[in-house]
Point group: C2
Chain length 439, copies 2
């Protein structure tokens, strides 16, 4: 079976742990069975593998997320890279073309699509398998999962099934309602629409060609930025006649806000933090190395990262997005395919960064027009290449690079360095990449 | 007139803005008339100078505070350095010997002693002058300031005056009472004892010699660590017969806790921070460069420094001290006489620090046994001396120093550098100082 995980957007609602590069699905705040922390995407991928180790898993993700996915999930997972954001229908169409043309998947095979971020347990993944089996049988073009509501939520769309059987025809779709309407839908037996559905690959390819003129995956990829933003529900699901819904009564939590996210946390403190005995219903997630002390607080979430510090009443935190839009912030930490970097200091004419390279990994071979750089190796061993000249480096070595010179560094062991950038116009956009050939 | 400002202890109750090196009196959170931020000690010194520009001002301070005092007040102020902490009587005795033997003050002159940290207005300083004039007249050995209470506080000692005149004899001293006793004292006309008093210098020298066998200032300084801890009230004031109290009805705030400190702040936010419209009675003091966002909070203080992040209910914040004692923290920022430093990164085997040298200033000439160091100049020009070899340095220059080598750096302009320390045992105690001779 094929599973496509839709990896969503920039996640400002979980600022400061998520930023333009790092979405909420990459934040490590859940404990896996071994006591180590894992992210939403690591958790769901591990859960899929536990239940269905042979499934082909593909992540539909933006370009900016590729480094984090490789860093957290390794190279076994497929990535259908969206060159830009165009809502769910184009993303699913591109993933379908990717499965056919890049992965060579048989068009008769079932594909299950689901979001990357719900907090669920094992029963959910068995349900995904049943959804796929149902689609492969071919009786319906589309098989949705309908989640049994636990309260009259205004955050989800609703699916009205014809009956109360496990599998049922669909009477109607309802947009996000107000609480009163939600209550009424639930009285009629309505289910939440969690954006989880299955189809045969050939069905989705047909739908894609109906809407978009393209020849193959590469052609669709190239014209992706010209596509209209349109949701899968609107383009396909709401118009489909041969559609069924399977009801799911297990745990399903959408961790889109600090309030719901902290409910799913196993412990109230992650990172260096302490709270006094008078705190109640307080959660602290501290990613930085300075300690947090909380006293006398109630129903509050505190979250600190290199990007910022949030202190919010949990209910109020749902309204964070417009406030974060106002903040003029620099990305201070990022995971890359080769490791990670953290901005330590910003000053006029200089920026100091800590770089960690994973063993066997390297940066792009690149140069900068408007800045000089200095590297100081603080631990590990590696190899630098500067204007074609290779050199072994160890703890304590200093490498200076003038503007214009081409450079890279390869970690032999894990390698940490302090990078000082010097120049009047320091910008992430000042970077020219060059092909690199290992001797 | 001579004013001695007693500069108190480590101030854990205002963590994380105060630490073992930086006491609360050095935190810059008040706005002066020009819109710039100033600290308590800068504020009180400026206020003294406005009212009494010819007063000799001496700060009685611990060794660890000397750098901050010089950095914030310059070189015009006298400092009576306490080699270790021995409570107020030894501190005042040492300051008296300092005034006589180092400053050559006439023993007939008046000395006014007061704490460095109350938040007061101009009328207070005129009152200090009157206290001094009264002492110089010689009718009493000791003239206290008694502050008219605004509520039955349990935090202060009380003075019971004989009458209600501006100047009155003292009937009794009362230790910090409970609220009920405080109410009773106030009904009797009691005044707060704020630790403010005046005497003729010769009186205090006599008292000092009564308790402590010493010849002169240097002798007293040398034997300071052998002295018994004893308060001035207990050793002197409570036993003195020729004593008067002058009542003061102006503003006098003791800024010892976050609750009282934030009351004295002119604005609710200092530093990079934002709060939403649903916050009430929230104060944010952010000394670091990552933004703070507060949402839906009430009666809360948020304070962030390189040492830590405090989020506390204002009432609850009074109980901070034992919690901070539990935190195992490294001093991450300090002001020095020559500038300041900030720890940017701590890792196993390395520490990265940003150093700022003021123009014309330099570090001690020193070496380390167990660590190598690398300096990268990120702005300014200066001069290094490494094992006796002088060298001019500019932005972009790198200086490497092996363990054991002697080194210093002098700022010609303001000079900023990134210092990387490398070694297995990095410690502030690993430092040998050497005499330094400018060519």
């Amino acid at each position: 079976m094929n599973i496509v995980l839709l990896s969503g957007g920039s996640g400002k609602r979980l600022w400061p742990l998520s930023n333009e590069i790092r979405s909420k699905q990459f934040i490590k705040i859940f404990k896996n069975g071994n006591g180590a922390y894992e992210s939403m995407i690591q958790r769901i991928y591990r859960q899929i593998r536990n239940v269905n180790k042979d499934a082909t898993v593909t992540i539909a993700a933006s370009k900016a997320q590729v480094s984090s996915i490789r860093n957290q999930l390794g190279n076994d997972v497929g990535i259908s890279v969206e060159p830009c954001r165009r809502d769910t229908f184009p993303a699913i169409a591109l993933a379908a073309a990717y499965l056919k043309d890049i992965k060579g998947v048989d068009p008769e095979e079932a594909v299950v699509v689901c979001p990357v971020d719900p907090y669920v347990e094992t029963d959910y993944f068995y349900m995904l398998n049943r959804l796929g089996e149902q689609a492969e049988k071919g009786g319906s073009n589309l098989v949705l999962m309908g989640i049994e509501p636990t309260y009259p939520s205004e955050k989800y769309g609703y699916i009205i099934p014809k009956g109360t059987d496990l599998i049922s025809e669909v009477l109607a779709f309802k947009e996000k309602p107000d609480a009163a309407a939600a209550k009424e839908y639930i009285a009629q037996g309505a289910l939440w629409n969690g954006g989880i559905f299955a189809f045969q690959l050939k069905y989705m390819l047909t739908k894609a060609h109906e809407y978009i003129p393209f020849t193959d995956y590469h052609d669709l990829f190239d014209r992706y930025d010209t596509l209209t933003k349109i949701s899968f529900d609107y383009a396909v699901a709401e118009k489909e006649e041969k559609i069924r819904v399977m009801r799911f009564a297990g745990q399903w939590k959408d961790l889109g806000t600090w309030n719901t996210l902290t409910e799913a946390m196993g412990e109230s403190v992650v990172g260096d933090a302490m709270m006094d005995g008078t705190c109640t219903n307080v959660h602290i997630i501290n990613e930085i190395s300075v300690p947090v002390l909380a006293m006398g607080l109630h129903d509050v979430v505190i979250s600190a990262s290199a990007d910022g510090i949030l202190v919010a009443d949990k209910e109020q935190s749902a309204f964070i997005k417009p406030l974060v839009d106002k903040l003029d912030w620099q990305v201070m930490f990022a995971e890359k395919s080769w490791g990670s970097f953290r901005v330590l200091d910003l000053d006029s004419g200089s920026m100091t960064v800590k770089v960690t390279l994973n063993p066997g990994h390297r940066m792009n071979y690149h140069s900068h027009k408007n800045r000089d750089e200095i590297w100081m190796v603080i631990s590990g061993t590696g190899r630098t290449v500067v204007d074609g000249m290779a050199q072994e480096v160890h703890t304590g070595d200093v490498i200076t690079m003038q503007a214009g010179c081409r450079h890279t560094i390869i970690g032999v062991t894990e390698l940490k360095l302090i990078e000082v950038q010097l120049g009047k116009e320091i910008s992430v956009h000042d970077k020219q990449k060059f092909p690199f050939e290992q001797e």
